[in-house]
């Protein structure tokens, strides 16, 4: 009896999530029709794609920068907490890193805009001076630091504690048995980590990174505050580029009710949905490829 009720509740919760998502999807699709269909001209998918693709690329660039910067640091910090720090300190250190997660995105936005951006301006100047033959550092360097790179750095700081937290919990769970097996073979600490810890934590690391990526893809306010959005450009050090959530946040308040602009903004929300989907499916696929070697029970 109790079992039926409980499993029923569990199922219900899952179904509730599905229902919500279907609701969200319907809501988005319904409201974004106006972006791809005009009464006079019929389907205008091409125009919409022209509008959407720079935003898609901008979103991916910012998230990619964030991931590239945050993942190694986050994994490093998680390792530090689980395997390097003095055991007595590691709990408190974990707490300190959690502090990063406690900071609201508005504050990150304000920090990125008023402190980080200006701090990076000389770096952008330097990069431009010495490395402008690389397309990433071409273009006139920003005088304000409000670039997609700065936004990426802020996003990296924001997702760092997410990835750290998940990785840390998993690293700590690594069976002592396997760690000792590696050490007894004469492995150094680092070799032990690559032999026992990483393989065990692989799925968890990817899960944490995906969670961080989701945050980076969907982060609105911090990016909107830090970035000077503009045309798509390969340059990381000049103003330009924008991300989907920022575009929505910046455009939606003034979009007239029922207008094509409003539909467009909701439609790119739908596009972000699809991006998230593809990214996560890829991650799941990577995890599942090695399932029988995962060591999970």
């Amino acid at each position: 009896m109790g079992d039926k009720v409980f499993s029923g509740l569990a199922l219900l919760a899952g179904v509730a999530i599905l229902a919500t998502l279907v609701f969200v999807a319907v809501f988005l699709s319904f409201n974004s029709v106006g972006a791809v269909y005009r009464e006079e001209e019929g389907l205008i998918i091409r125009q919409f794609l022209q509008y959407a693709y720079p935003l898609v690329i901008g979103t991916l660039i910012a998230s990619l920068i964030a991931l590239l910067l945050a993942t190694p640091v986050a994994v490093g910090v998680a390792l530090y907490i689980s395997h390097f720090a003095p055991p007595r300190l590691s709990k408190s250190i974990g707490y300190v890193i959690d502090l990063l997660a406690a900071i609201p995105s508005v504050v990150y936005g304000a920090w990125g805009m008023s402190f980080l951006g200006p701090t990076l301006v000389p770096l952008y100047g330097w990069l431009h001076q010495h490395l402008s033959f690389i397309p990433l550092f071409a273009g006139s360097p920003s005088q304000t630091g409000r670039t997609i790179f700065t936004a990426g750095v802020v996003l990296a700081v924001m997702i760092l504690p997410i990835i750290t937290s998940v990785c840390r919990e998993i690293f700590i769970q690594t069976p002592k048995l396997h760690e000792e097996a590696a050490l007894a073979l004469g492995a150094t600490r680092w070799e032990m980590i690559t032999m026992a810890v990483f393989p065990f934590a692989r799925a968890g690391i990817i899960s944490g990174v995906m969670l961080g990526l989701g945050r980076a893809l969907g982060e609105t306010m911090a990016v909107a505050l830090v970035l000077s959005p503009g045309l798509l450009t390969a340059s990381l050090i000049s103003a330009g580029n924008s991300t989907i959530p920022a575009e929505i946040a910046l455009g939606f308040p003034e979009a007239p009710p029922g207008s094509e602009r409003q539909a467009q903004l909701i439609a790119i929300g739908l596009v972000l949905f699809i991006i998230t989907l593809i990214v996560n499916m890829t991650a799941r696929w990577i995890v599942s490829r090695h399932k029988e070697f995962s060591g999970a029970n």
Binding site: Q143, G230, G240, P253, A255
Partner: protein
Amino acid sequence: GEANNPVAENGDENGNGENGGGETSEVQGTLVGGGASSQEAAMTAWTNGFTSVAPEAQVNYASVGSGAGRDGFLGGEYDWAGSDSAMEDEEWEQSKEICGPDGAFHIPAYISPIAVAFNVEGIDETLNLDADTIASIFSGEVTSWDDDAIAEHNEDVDLPDTPITVVHRADDSGTTDNFTEYLEAAASTWEWEASDAWPSEISAESAQQNSGVVDLTSQTDGAITYADASQIGGLNSVAVLVGEDYVEHNAEAASQAVASSTPVEGQAPNNMAVELDRDTEEAGAYPIVLAAYNIFCNEYPDQQTADLAVAFAEYLVSEEGQQTAEAAAGNAPMSEDLRSTAMDAISQISAQ
């Protein structure tokens, strides 16, 4: 005087002191509205001030943006909306569903000039420019402060060769709409259509909201931007060539520009939406003006809301209301004529 110590008087329903001895109204209930953020500071002052006029009433305003405000208004979420631009005809048609056969109407209660403001080390005074030059600067054609195009208008000023950094609004905004409308109408070198969004082909540095562009400009040597004149703080601004004279932004000129503009036809009989005359040659007029409308229903579903709406709208356009806003937000008070037209329009509000 204002015995305003909200800290001490917290928890008390009508904690504000009496206001200048004006008579108080009996209306009660809560009136909710939302929309343009341009009038947020003024609205804060208004909602506060209104409590002293109508101690039983409460007014809430959410600065969600003009579009979202109109959306909420038409969707029945708000009793009135604040908006930097007037409703489209379609929207007005839609407003009949909730506002009765005459639909909704606009009152330009918040008027403020838009300043072209800059921060250049070495220039501590107002610069003179004409519309074409302003357009060339903002479109990125003129890239240095000592460009001839600028020097031509400012023979007495020693211009540095600082590069120009254009700062525009990152968010879609009524300020941008009004500014680009001016450029479109008055400058021959401006090729873009007026819009809430800054033309994406010429995007440069940008920030959110008036405070954002002003801060960014203040931090950046050589920066120029456009912003609500009440919010530019210590930045210097441009005197714009109108006819034969260079005109600095000022309150009177701004409200004059609204008063003398063309009314929008085809909506409610008491509608006060206007088409501003951007390329005016009239002496002393300052053509870059923003008028934020407050959009009310002609008919409200119940008497209480109608009374509240009337009381609040009347307070907005009252002399006292306009002064309160000016003191708090620094905008331009409505002219006498405009106020009395508005009072007439408001008196049309009724309950269904």
